[in-house]
């Protein structure tokens, strides 16, 4: 397993080397070098902000296409709850489930079902009083990765449970094996994803050695074909196995709401989440029991691989769930099954640290402070680093030079020009003096 597999990648041909993405990246993971953006792999958390902001569509999420269905003998689709929010006048999730089958999947296992089970397990965990509080949701992989590189103190507060998509993958494969008699590897478990972060989790799962999902297809890829097929789906009221609680996970606040407690906080949008994580780290939110964080605005409905406007999608979820049962999936045991949990604990990845040797880190920090004074503080990004401070840091780390700053360069050019004019002035003076001497002779 590669430590840093990412879904977010660059299409070099489309990249003009502008500074939109470097300014927007929440972990300062992008630089522009030699006219092209470059993603620093160890810092990227696959949030997709650069995809959202790139005017040239040079940032892309690497996912599969529907062609992947041919690779397996039997395929199961795992629709994210937010997929249901993409359509107008949907009577129930069943229409989407039926549409996915018409699209070519042999079966569908709704992630919303697994979400209800995770909610039940989380409730039990919180009520047991054994888990550190407040518990931080790990359903958004971008948030989990962010915590891992920037908030080491908060790792122990993360929910130790699988994401609903992972649990759905596991349950779907078990069900398919049982029903078809096929070995697990012949079954393709395909997640219909709202975002690159969840796509990257298949190759780089969090808390698991190997993902239960085989591949992911973006919602925006499935959407146009699904819309057409859904009209052919008939009488689908009884097909869905999920309830209100599970479908609600598709928008911000839904996961926390399913815990049936008011002592929760739900934040969405990566910058807002960073603020909450900072407050958590400073023990400012001690009376809260559960923290739901979604990197995308509005929650998963705001994922960069979605089609519908996230705010409208949120409204659609509300009208969709109105006549649905509160929930349809519960844990039948008091104990939380072991395979609902992560198999290993996350470890802090200090990628922001200047040096592993603290004395050297201090020297570098001093050097950064010295360099910053030379830069104009405009954070213009022309140097290819997102801010003057990060340019100073890049220089100290050996990735850039002072002359990358156009202002430093301009000053140097001025100095050279001054020297040149002074030298040529001296030479001119000598020439005149020599001419005067010639005349006197």
């Amino acid at each position: 397993m590669s430590e840093f597999f990412h879904s977010v990648t660059l299409d070099r041909d489309k990249c003009l080397g502008c500074t939109n993405c470097i300014k927007r990246c929440p972990t300062s993971a992008i630089r522009v070098q030699e006219g092209k953006a470059k993603i620093l792999s160890e810092r990227c958390i696959d949030c997709g902000e650069c995809i959202r902001v790139c005017p040239h569509h040079a940032k892309i999420a690497v996912c599969e296409t529907l062609d992947i269905l041919e690779r397996y003998e039997y395929t199961v689709a795992l629709p994210a709850p937010s997929l249901y929010a993409q359509f107008n006048n949907l009577e129930g999730p069943g229409t989407v489930v039926e549409g996915l089958k018409l699209l070519g999947f042999d079966d569908v296992f709704e992630v919303a079902q697994a979400a209800e089970l995770i909610s039940d397990a989380t409730r039990k965990l919180i009520n047991s009083g054994k888990a550190p509080m407040p518990m931080i949701s790990c359903a958004c992989p971008t948030i989990s990765r962010l915590i891992r590189i920037r908030f080491p103190d908060l790792i122990e507060y993360m929910s130790p449970l699988l994401t609903p998509a992972e649990l759905a993958g596991k349950l779907a494969r078990e069900k398919a094996c049982k029903e078809t008699g096929l070995p697990p590897e012949k079954i393709g478990v395909i997640f219909i994803t709202p975002c690159p972060a969840k796509a990257a989790s298949i190759n780089m799962p969090i808390g698991l050695d190997k993902s239960n999902i085989d591949a992911s297809i973006p919602i925006k890829e499935v959407y146009p074909r699904l819309v057409g097929l859904m009209h052919r789906a008939e009488d689908t009221c009884d097909i869905s196995d999920s309830g209100r609680a599970g479908v609600r996970w598709g928008s911000s606040g839904g996961e926390a709401h399913a815990l049936l407690s008011d002592l929760y906080l739900a934040a969405d949008g990566i910058e807002n989440c960073i603020k909450v994580l900072n407050d958590l780290e400073d023990e400012k939110l001690n009376y809260i029991k559960f923290v739901e964080l979604n990197a995308c605005p509005g929650g998963c409905v705001g994922g960069v691989l979605q089609v519908e406007n996230p705010f409208l999608a949120k409204t659609k979820i509300k009208s969709l769930i109105r006549y649905m049962p509160p929930y349809r999936n519960v844990l039948h045991t008091q104990e939380i099954p072991d395979d609902f949990r992560w198999t290993y604990k996350l470890e802090y990845l200090p990628v922001m640290q200047l040096d592993t040797d603290m004395e050297k880190a201090f020297q570098k920090m001093d050097e950064i402070e010295r360099l910053i004074k030379k830069f104009p503080g405009l954070d213009c990004g022309s140097c290819g680093s997102p801010s003057c401070r990060s340019l100073a840091e890049d220089i100290v780390r050996g990735y850039s030079t002072e002359e990358a700053c156009v202002f430093v360069l301009r000053d140097e050019v001025h100095q050279i020009a001054d020297s040149l004019s002074r030298i040529s002035g001296i030479q001119l003076g000598r020439k005149k003096a020599a001419e005067a001497e010639d005349k006197e002779d």
Binding site: R150, P152, D153, N278, E281, D282, E283, Y348, P350, M352, Q353, L354, D355, T356, M358, E359, A361, F362, M365, D366, E369
Partner: protein
């Protein structure tokens, strides 16, 4: 290395800028997270105090690999009875400040609790200076 911060006196939303910046820098320097947390919490409490009581002030942070030395100086009204001010829950905060969620009377006690050394000097009408040290055990 030495860092200076100015705490503006009239803006609640800016309290926490100094502790936030120091926290970021300490992470980059590789301090253990419990040391960072102690410094960050103690300094944040100090910043809040400066905003609420002292119309702002100045923070000097001396950081070395062995310890973090914080000096918070203000020219505010001063504290008439330091012993009383150090008691858990003792507060002179106005109703308005309490409504904002501050003024629970845990500021100074927390600063003492989270630091390894704590000194406070104050003169009514002149100002208050708090010195705190957190050792780096690693």
């Amino acid at each position: 290395m030495t860092l200076h911060y100015i705490v503006p006196g009239d803006d609640f939303t800016r309290a926490g800028e100094a502790s936030g910046d120091l926290k970021r820098k300490m992470k980059k320097l590789g301090f253990p997270s419990d040391v960072i947390r102690k410094v960050s919490i103690a300094l944040y409490e100090g910043e809040i105090n400066m905003v609420i009581h002292a119309y702002g002030g100045e923070i000097t942070a001396e950081i070395s690999s062995s310890e973090i030395d914080l000096t918070l100086a203000d020219t505010g009204p001063g504290i008439p009875d330091i012993e009383k001010a150090m008691q858990d829950g003792y507060s002179t905060a106005t109703e308005q400040v309490r409504n904002l969620g501050f003024g629970a009377g845990m500021g100074l006690p927390n600063m003492k609790k989270y630091t390894d050394e704590f000194q406070i000097e104050s003169e009514v009408g002149v100002g208050t200076t708090v010195r705190m040290k957190v050792y780096n055990h690693s």
